[in-house]
Structure formats: structure tokens, C-alpha cells
Amino acid sequence: INAEYMGTPSECLFFFEMTLKALVSIKRVIDYTVKVRVRPDKLGVIKDNVKHSCNPFDEIAVEQAVRMKEKKLVGEIVAVSIGGPKSVEVLRGSALALGVDRAIHVKLPSDNDDVESLAVAKILHKIAEKEKPDVILTGKQAIDDDSCAVPQMLAGLLGWSQATFISELEVAGKTAKICRETDAGMQRLEVSLPSVISCDLRLNEPRYAKLPEIMKAKKKPLQEITADSLGVSTQPKIQILEVADPPTRAAGRKVKTVEELITKLKTEAKVI
């Protein structure tokens, strides 16, 4: 919580602006435009020489924190990323260069290392205990693992409210009103702060980093720590036996007319 004195000495106006502290968790993943290929040894996917970037939903989380800071709802934004050496690139390029104040890199030995959701949640839990944020923002899921679990697990470990898949966020003092996207449509909740918030597609449209901010980002604090130093084990509880290609569909054919399509659907595919 940051306090700001506002007003002229002669007026003796004390205006305490209580701003929130935001912790944003981001992940370096294979870029969403890449056609992912399974490795020949079938133990994972090919990552070498493949384009990586910040998880798109985490970019939305960063953008939300920055907008809240611009509105003076948030005073300080700290970004954290758990990953190999190259995760520093997303911390600098997708967080510090966009308005995040400082970054923490929980460094894994290799860029090919994966950490399970529960271990990620435990690492973030430890960092949150130290940093004492009022809101933890992250994307609703990572587009590589697709587990969609970390925010919920973290909220469970912290005993905080969880606001997942949000498309609207309105902070008001000690609570926040949110709108979230559900299978059936939308749901509106009022969550108490502190809260773990996971961001969905339509919450905002992330900005691009501008050159002056990219230059400033190089000087912003970036601390490197390990999971060990936090007392969290990254030993997996689940073993990956094999990673396989999805079943391939038989090649289809082009039809020339609507009549031909209807005939094929009725007599050949027998679905109409």
C-alpha cells in the first residue's frame, strides 16, 4: 500500500491515496502462430529455434495492471516469470517495457524445463508472502500446457478470493466487481481483496511497447532467484510417458455445388 501526500502546505490538505500493489505472473511460451511439432523422441514438442513470446493471456494481465496504474488504482507493479534463461526476454520486453516497475525471474536451469501447476502456485505463494500484493494478475491459461489451474491453485493456497476468466474488472476499495466469461454466458461477482485474478481475451487489448519504454526497461530492476531458494521443489509428481501427434483426419475433397454437398452429407456421410 502506497500513500501520497497531496495539497499545498497553506491549505494543509492531507489526501491519502491508497493504491494497490499488483503482482503479475507471466510465462514464456511457444508463439501462438507456430504450428507445434512433436519431437522425434516423442517426449515433448520441438522448442529449439522455434519462435517464443509472452503467453497472450499474460499480456492481457500486464496491460490490465498498467491501466490500473495509469488510473492510480495501482501504485507498484511487480512481474514474475518462472522459466529458463530466456524468460528474461519476456520480463523485459512484455512487462518492464510496458510499465511494470520491477521483475523477478525464478530461473530454471534450461528453457526446455517445465514446472507443474502446483509447483508454480507454490512458488508464487512464497513470492506473494514476501511482496504482499493486493492483486495477483495472470492469464487464464498458458497456451502450451492448457492446464488452466495455476490461478485457482494459488488462490486456494493463499485462502484468497479468485476471479477467473474475467472480461471486466472494477476495483472499489476493499472489493472488486468483476464480470467473467462462463460456458453459459457471463457471471458477475464481487470479490474481496486481496484476490487472484485470471484474465480472459476480451478484458483489454494489450499495447505495443514503445522504444523509449523499451530503453528504460533495460535499467529497471530484474532480480534472479531459484525455486530452491524459496523452499519449493520442482520435482514433478506426474511423469510424461509419451507425447503424440493427434489422430490425422483422412483427406477430404472439394465439392462443386451446394447440391453435391447436400447429396454427400445425406448419402455418403449420412449425417443429414
Binding site: Q141, G156, T182, I238, L241, V258
Partner: protein, 318 residues
Amino acid sequence: MKVARSLLGKALVVVEHNNAKVSPATLAAVTAASKLGEVTALVAGKGSKSVVDEISKIQGIAKVLAVDSAEYEHGLPENFAPLVKKVQDENKFTHIVAAHTTFGKGVLPRAAALLDTQSVSDVIGVKDENTFLRSTYAGNALASVKSSQALNILSVRPTSFDKAAQGGSASVAQVAATGESGLTKWLADEVDTSGKPDLTSARVVVSGGRGLKAPENFKLLYSLADKIGNCAVGATRAVVDAGFVSNDLQVGQTGKIVAPELYIAVGLSGAIQHLAGMKDSKVIACINTDPEAPIFSVSDYGLEGDLFDAVPKLIAGL
């Protein structure tokens, strides 16, 4: 001599419902749970007796644990997760299962954290009590995983398992409520009550993309859906973002995953993330003016043409 392999597991299914009916997705979770051992269903709700009655008559359910209390009315994970933990501590199940839906995604990981368990999400296959198949990278890499945990928590993809049928007769026991967490207050659910077929369980799905050009053109797809019958309308992320249709129509990696008998893709190019949501459909047909659109590569029947000409002809000809 043939020996039936008996399952030693005890699975708990966390039932998703609206206090009136069991969700179809939960019936798929019951089928998945049945592959793991004896199945117990947990029904927590408010005024949800009809849900208890319904699930107790589903094949494969041996027991139902029920609690009726205000804090469970809206499926809030902050209230459900402590209940799941308590039921687990008291009963020591080997598996906790729910469907990978908004409800399952909200509750199961939070409960898993309380139970110090690494959960397994979006399970599309159960090989045995410890070995599961799950989808990663938008369905482009299927991971076969083995867990060494005494408890496994699984959220399963509803379209990957048949829905359990009626014909069971389970005993019902009441469990104590765990109380209101006070963390979150439900304000409203804004849902479509038009009674149109549900996207994830309709026999046929017709989806539209940017080719539709304007929101009012979705009328064409609704007319087509009406003509076909038991047909739901879906959409790509692009048109949901543009405000043509509401978010619950979005089919894709992080939207809905569907696997109908027939998927007709109209005026959509077939981005990787959209394909993730529909490539397990039995039959796929597409209508697009661009012969190079990726959607053709997954379509059994592809019509290169203008949807504004083709769709009315399709409606008339069916």
C-alpha cells in the same frame, strides 16, 4: 480361465448442476470415473433435491453424498473447494473427477491445492487408474501421463466420454456443510435462456467467422440451424471480439471444445486455435471463398463459394 479385472479405486464425481438438473457434462465425467473404480457423486447446492434424485438414478453411481445449503447455490469455488477437501479427508477417495467446464476448472484446481495434489486437466482418455491422456498445445500434442500420487484429481473433456445412461440406484447420505467463505459474493448470471440447442451437446454445429461480415448475417446461420434441427450455432473468436455474437458461442482452444456428428464451418478460415475446438467432429464441411483457407485441410467436404449464395441454397435444398 478368464479373470475380470476388478478396479480398486474409489472415485468421487463433483456434480455440476443448476439446482434443478444435472449438467450433461457431468454425465461424461461419470463415465470417465467409472473406469477408475466405484463412483460416488457429490451434490452440493441449494434446493437441489431434484439433482440428487436424478444422479442417484444414473448407471455407475454407487452412492450419493448430498448437502443443501445457501453457500453452494452458485457453484462458488471458494465454498466448494473446502467441501471437497473435507469429503476427501473423511472418505479417502483415490480419484476426484469433474468435467473440464467453467465449474470444474474453478473448483478442482483450488481443491487440489488444498489437498497438495497436482491435478490433471482436460483429460481425453483414461488408460488405467494412474495413466491418463490429456490435450496440450491446442490439441496438437497429446500427452500420455502417469501419476504416482495416492490421490488423483482429474477434470475431463466432456466430448471425450459417452454420457452415462439412466438405470442406476444409488444410496444417498447427507454431509455437513462447510460454511460460507465470505470471500466472494454472487451478483448475477447473464445467460441465454432462449432454449436453443446447447453447443457442446448438439448433434450438428454450424459456425460462422469473419466471412459473415456483419452481426445481422448470423441470422442466416440460425435459419440453417433451425432447418437442420438439433443444431447449435457457434462462432470464431474474431466475431465474438467484434461483438457479432456473445462469448458463449466461441469454439476454440480456450472457448468451447465441440465434437458433433457434423460441423459446418461457414466463412471462417480455420486458425489453429479454432481448429483445436472442432477437429474431433465426426464430419466436417466448410464453405469459404478462399481455396487456401486452412479449414479445407480438415474438412471432409469443402465448398469453394460465397456463403451468401450457398447458405440460402443449403437451407432451401435440405
